[in-house]
Symmetry: C2
Subunit: 527 residues, 2 copies
């Protein structure tokens, strides 16, 4: 049952007069439940509880943490249809999408559970003492990764489960040993509360310290700002717009003690269609891309918003087929009237720029909250000189940039802002022939795709979800995959520390049987 309250650790609380409701974009009506925004006192309480919990949670065993993470997954499964129903009523997304996203969320939790149960992820590194070394003896040094402290996670509207309350950021931070305070998304506060209840139940069942998790409701941006400014908060995870992510990054970097913000933000995911590919498979690619551009109403961070080709009959044919195909697709509901509004105004701003031609646009009568897919074209020269055309339009929209030649194509790629992904569509020999273009594209992205679409993010060790700014605020980390745990930890070194007082990961006996680097060699042996 949804209460509309905040979780301050395991206590439900609502002391604030500021309340709000969520919205169902399918019915175009507000949902019934009234949510209470977290007050200053509630924010303070949640952070204080997290700080206290950190003292215990930071050195809890990997086995215990894995029980906690697996139990969160079990509790989410146990929410059953209630969760799916609330999810759909607050996002306009389909039940099928809800099922897929729930599976992914559970998979992520169980992946981190396995990682910390096995335990080698801490990178235990031991250099043993050499008291006879000249000119000075060598001391015993033992290093491992330790958690940063309380982490604030901002829920993402386009992934109410997988990137939100118990999503990748939260799962990674808890796995690392960091207590988490979630700033729930205003559009999906009910979904957030249900998932929060699952985490709170799991924490209680598995004996975690109170305060290891809190969930704070918010109508606007104030709760998040206060959290990021709080001295006891040590890191921030965010998925959303460039404006939102950059604002949090700025606040965090201007603190007396700056803290890391990992914000996964905008991306228009450029696609380069090389001449032979467009000649041989232009029609096929046009159909494939019509699907990718409209998938989930274009509300994916990996949506392909920019397609580059070299001018000519083949490109003209591709544009025509793409424009025809895209309007055949049935539009779908967007997340919120605000998102539809931002989509329509962002699109109109682009369409108004000099040299931009709208070549395909869904124009039949549809419900007001549905996203009308649109394709525009522009010349390379216009694109190069007009920064407005480089801005993301979040929704089922894509722009085909018609370049004069491969030199102009390369120049454009060099000047692109950072992106999550880049895609190259090529036939035999073209990767080699357009080496400079491909090399320039690699400098601007976190993941590069050959003959495919950027939508679809495989959750695995080899995935990079992140990239040069503004794709993310720190390209040195990924937001997806087991390595995303690295955002929330720091290396820590013990010098000449007595064996009995070391963490188990670093003791001579290696009772955890983890893989360690001992005097330059990888081993599971004891010392």
């Amino acid at each position: 049952m949804i209460t509309g309250k905040n979780y301050l650790g395991n206590v439900l609380s609502s002391t604030n007069a500021v309340t709000f409701k969520t919205f169902n974009p399918r019915t175009n009506l507000e949902n019934e439940i009234v949510y209470s925004e977290a007050s200053d006192i509630e924010i303070e309480k949640a952070v204080e509880l997290a700080s206290q919990a950190f003292k215990i949670f930071k050195s809890i065993s990997g086995v215990k943490k894995s029980e906690f993470l697996n139990e969160i997954a079990n509790e989410i499964e146990a929410l059953g249809d209630d969760l799916l129903q609330v999810y759909c009523s607050e996002s306009g997304l389909t039940k099928n999408r809800a099922l897929n996203e729930r599976s992914r969320t559970i998979f992520q939790l169980r992946t981190f559970a396995d990682l910390v149960k096995e335990g080698s992820w801490v990178g235990a590194t031991i250099e043993s003492a050499d008291l006879n070394r000249q000119p000075i003896p060598k001391v015993d040094l033992r290093k491992m990764l330790v958690p940063l402290g309380p982490v604030v996670v901002f829920g993402a509207s386009n992934f109410p489960l997988a990137y939100s309350t118990a999503g990748g950021d939260t799962a990674a931070a808890l796995a690392a040993g960091c207590p988490v305070i979630v700033k729930s998304h205003p559009m999906q506060t009910g979904t957030g509360e249900l998932v929060a209840s699952a985490i709170i139940n799991a924490a209680s069942t598995t004996g975690m310290p109170n305060g290891v998790f809190s969930n704070l409701n918010s109508r606007g941006i104030e709760v998040g700002i206060k959290l990021v400014k709080h001295p006891q908060v040590k890191a921030v995870g965010f998925t959303g717009s460039i404006g939102g992510g950059r604002a949090l990054y700025d606040i965090a970097s201007q603190r007396h003690e700056p803290i890391p913000v990992f914000a996964e933000m905008g991306s228009i995911n450029p696609v380069v269609i090389l001449p032979e590919a467009i000649k041989q498979k232009g029609n096929e690619w046009a159909k494939t891309y019509a699907s990718s551009i409209t998938l989930g109403s274009g509300q994916f961070c990996t949506n392909p918003g920019l397609l580059f080709g070299v001018k000519g009959d083949d490109l003209s044919n591709f544009v025509q087929v793409l424009s025809e195909e895209i309007v055949k697709i049935e539009p779908t509901c967007m997340l919120h009237p605000k998102i539809v509004g931002a989509y329509e105004s962002g699109k109109a701003k682009i369409q108004d720029q000099p040299g931009v031609h709208t070549v395909g646009s869904f124009d039949k009568n549809i419900a007001s909250n549905y996203g009308r897919q649109t394709i525009v074209t522009v010349e390379g020269a216009n694109f190069l000189t007009n920064a407005t055309l480089h801005q993301e339009v979040f929704g089922p929209f894509s722009m085909v940039v018609q370049c004069e030649n491969s030199e102009q194509l390369e120049e454009i790629i060099v000047r692109l802002e950072g992106q999550l992904t880049g895609t190259v569509l090529a036939e035999k020999g073209e990767l080699e022939k357009y080496k400079k273009v491909v090399s320039a594209l690699q400098n601007r992205v976190g993941r590069i795709i050959f003959n495919g679409v950027p939508t679809g993010v495989e959750v695995c060790d080899a995935m990079v979800h992140g990239g040069p700014y503004p794709a993310s605020t720190d390209s040195r980390f990924t937001a997806v995959g087991a390595n995303s745990i690295m955002r929330w930890v720091r290396p820590f070194s013990f010098q000449s520390w007595p064996d009995a007082s070391l963490p188990n990961e670093l003791k001579n006996e290696n009772s955890l049987e983890i893989l360690r680097y001992v005097d330059g060699k990888q081993t599971k042996d004891k010392l």
Copy 2:
């Protein structure tokens, strides 16, 4: 031969009317050579060359990079006594110290050479495709670490070799595949130019692209600021004061595209002397710490500037012995008259605070540029409420904080700012008995030492040199040891990429024979 010019890639250049000289603190005279500060045009040229060089250098093989790094080490050795002499004349440090630091610098270069020659450091991770997977096929994904782009390194005055021109930051960045532009330290510009010539020669001998390294002279802070603001600069390494490091961090984080700054800054390296340790070995520890506090005139970032004990006869005795011992030590020359000036005024500021007592101070007649070692004491209550007492005094100075009891000690530790190191002096059972104090100290430091001194930084895999702010701007990285390469790289993922076009690290055949993670297993096997 020192020319006084800037290296813009392999070309010596001096077009600026702004010139300056370095200073010999032993003779109290300016050195003869006139240095030309880098002009705006020279800065622009160096960055442009680095950007061009990056296109080639980013994918040069590990074997070639290791030849380059080893050749830098050879060239530095070949500079022979000329380098040692200039080093001493610009720093006031001894020839013995110069020899030790040169050894460390060469060791660091050769360590990174070995790392990149072996090659497994890139963390190659492969998840192979599974076209039969339900509900959707699994794509082939291959990930490795790639360099960020041109890196700016600021030389540190207290380590003219090991943390400067060819020091740890430069060695790590070049090993990563990032071109480096050094902003040479104004106090050691001649040392910087000689080392830069070694790097330039090595680059030429081993066929590196022009622009892989540049060395820019500066009289003040302007050259550094311009470099950090430059859009083509992608990361910054700095070792120095909190004021300097924070200013660069602020500039970098306010750019349109924020870039990572790894600044290793201030630390007062707290030492906790537990009751039994002070009772049983107080005299011994007092003598040991008198040496550590005055080592190199206290000009180490790991100098112990704060000693904590619980009030009583044992602590009083410790303070007395420490005060007697410290004045027996012969003072040594500090780096520059400015450093001596800052030391004396910083010390005086602390001595003027309420409750601070000077208990030992070298008061014999010595040369003006020598650092006069000083010990002061203060009550725990005063320390808790006076933020001025938490500030670093760079030089041979330490403050003994006399706490009322272990509760006050814990409270003080919790409130300390971030530190590079923390030290615990304890006898049997005390680590367990003062668990909360030790746990609180761990939260504030990057390295914790048992029954030793913080001075002396072992260059090895298990070392952490870094820590919570303001010890460094990003505690997630270390500035010392092979892992410091992680500051300058980002993960990058190839999806469905043709084998022939992949980097060798990710090709099926694994011709480099590196250790890779393939479908969840560590292996050197080919696919």
